[in-house]
């Protein structure tokens, strides 16, 4: 490709919007519109059918777009956004609920030693845990458990797929029931 063509390619790739002929011409003050047009034609031909992207002329100018046939696959992969990861606090809370379900907020607080209300709400919002029943006792507290989408994200066929606590590397005590404070 000509050096002007390569410059146009780089600019069209980096721009967050379609670029007009004038804008493209402004990249190199010494160059005529005709040369820009010729370079655009060269670029378009270079991308032809043999690529997954193509140079498209749309109302506002020129833009690189992915070819239509790949659109759906890419959209499904949700690459536009970086996957979110759970905070250590959320993971801890999730671990307690996964292993002790159904379990109430007080018990989670007790084990973590901190208030877990906000974290639990966020996990519910993200669809990883849900209220599964209500406990006995004062106020009949809401008890939480994990959702099918929790298993799906971790790639577990069912909850029995979670490694048994005894298999974890550290010497673990069996989870012992903690009395809910009265």
């Amino acid at each position: 490709m000509h050096s002007l063509t390569k410059l146009l390619e780089a600019a069209l790739f980096a721009a967050s919007r379609p670029l007009t002929l004038e804008e493209l011409a402004s990249l190199d003050p010494g160059v005529a519109d005709g040369a820009v047009r010729a370079s655009l034609a060269e670029l378009r031909a270079a991308y032809g059918d043999e690529h997954g992207v193509e140079l498209v002329e749309i109302a506002e100018g020129w833009q690189f777009l992915t070819r239509r046939e790949y659109g759906e696959t890419i959209e499904r992969a949700q690459f536009a956004l970086r996957p979110r990861r759970l905070s250590p606090a959320a993971l801890e809370t999730l671990a307690i609920i996964a292993y002790r379900q159904p379990v109430g907020r007080l018990e989670v607080d007790e084990i973590r030693g901190v208030d877990s209300g906000a974290v639990i709400d966020k996990l519910v919002e993200r669809g990883l845990i849900e209220v599964v029943t209500r406990g006995e006792g004062l106020g009949r507290p809401l008890l939480y458990g994990t959702t099918p989408s929790f298993q799906e994200i971790l790639g577990l066929k069912n909850l029995e797929d979670l490694p048994r606590l005894e298999e974890l590397s550290v010497a673990l005590r069996r989870p012992t029931p903690v009395d809910e404070p009265e």
């Binding site: 967050s16 690189f64 956004l81 990883l128 606590l165 550290v170």
Partner: protein
């Protein structure tokens, strides 16, 4: 030590904004470089004086971090002036800790230079600018690693408090037995000691408690009197006089 000449000299050498130094260690390194002195054999008196005049010049003498360093430098300077015996192997260079920190900080600064250059080089290239709008504002995909979850489980389990267990005594107190034993003793002897009451030297904690409760109960019913002839002496149990009986 921060005489006018020093001030002047420092002022000329350090026409800088406050942000030029990212901390007292940075300023110290700057001074060391300016003076071209050996970092491992720091002329502490000179550096301390320069440090003080520069922070006064820059108005950094309000900042706690700089003041703390100034105090530290003055302390080291004073320690260096203390006489020490010749050939004293035990002598520990008061500058050692500061030198170690300065070397470490210098190393960090080399990394900072490297990182800065890498960031500048990367900034010369652009990624794709256009971002297709997400179709219906799907939330970002969530990523959970099973290992992360297990690590969290381990952390959490180590936090679980050992539950408070009340140990249940397998044998209940035998107050009736102790009462019967004491009544039998009272029938044959007017007075006897604690050891006889409790049933011998091999008595268990349960026996002791049972006996004690039985004695108190019998004393309350005026069947016997409990006395202690001397402080901390052995307890004496005496059959109650008939007229005292209820």
């Amino acid at each position: 030590m921060t005489g006018p000449s020093m001030r002047e000299q420092a002022g000329a050498g350090f026409v800088v904004e406050l942000e030029k130094f990212s901390g007292p260690l940075d300023l110290l390194l700057h001074l060391i470089k300016e003076d071209e002195v050996d970092i491992t054999d720091l002329p502490i008196a000179k550096i301390a004086d320069q440090f003080l005049s520069v922070i006064a010049e820059l108005g950094l003498n309000q900042a706690a971090d700089y003041l703390e360093m100034a105090a530290r430098l003055l302390r080291i300077k004073a320690q260096m002036l203390l006489p020490r015996r010749l050939g004293d192997d035990e002598w520990e260079d008061p500058r050692a800790e500061l030198v170690r920190r300065l070397l470490e900080y210098q190393q960090i600064h080399e990394l900072v230079d490297w990182l800065g250059h890498a960031a500048d080089a990367r900034a010369e290239r652009f990624g794709r600018g256009y971002e297709a709008p997400p179709p219906d504002a799907l939330p970002a995909p969530l990523q959970i690693d099973l290992n992360d979850l297990l690590a969290a489980a381990e952390r959490v389990i180590s936090l679980i408090p050992e539950p408070m267990l009340h140990r249940v005594v397998p044998r209940p107190l035998d107050v009736e037995g102790a009462t019967a034993r004491i009544l039998a003793l009272l029938a044959e002897r007017e007075t006897f000691g604690w050891r006889d009451a409790v049933g011998g030297p091999q008595a268990s904690l349960v026996d002791v408690l049972s006996t004690f409760i039985a004695l108190l109960e019998l004393a309350k019913r005026s069947s016997l009197t409990l006395s202690q002839p001397e402080p901390f002496g052995p307890m004496v149990i005496t059959r109650a006089l008939p007229h005292e009986a209820a």
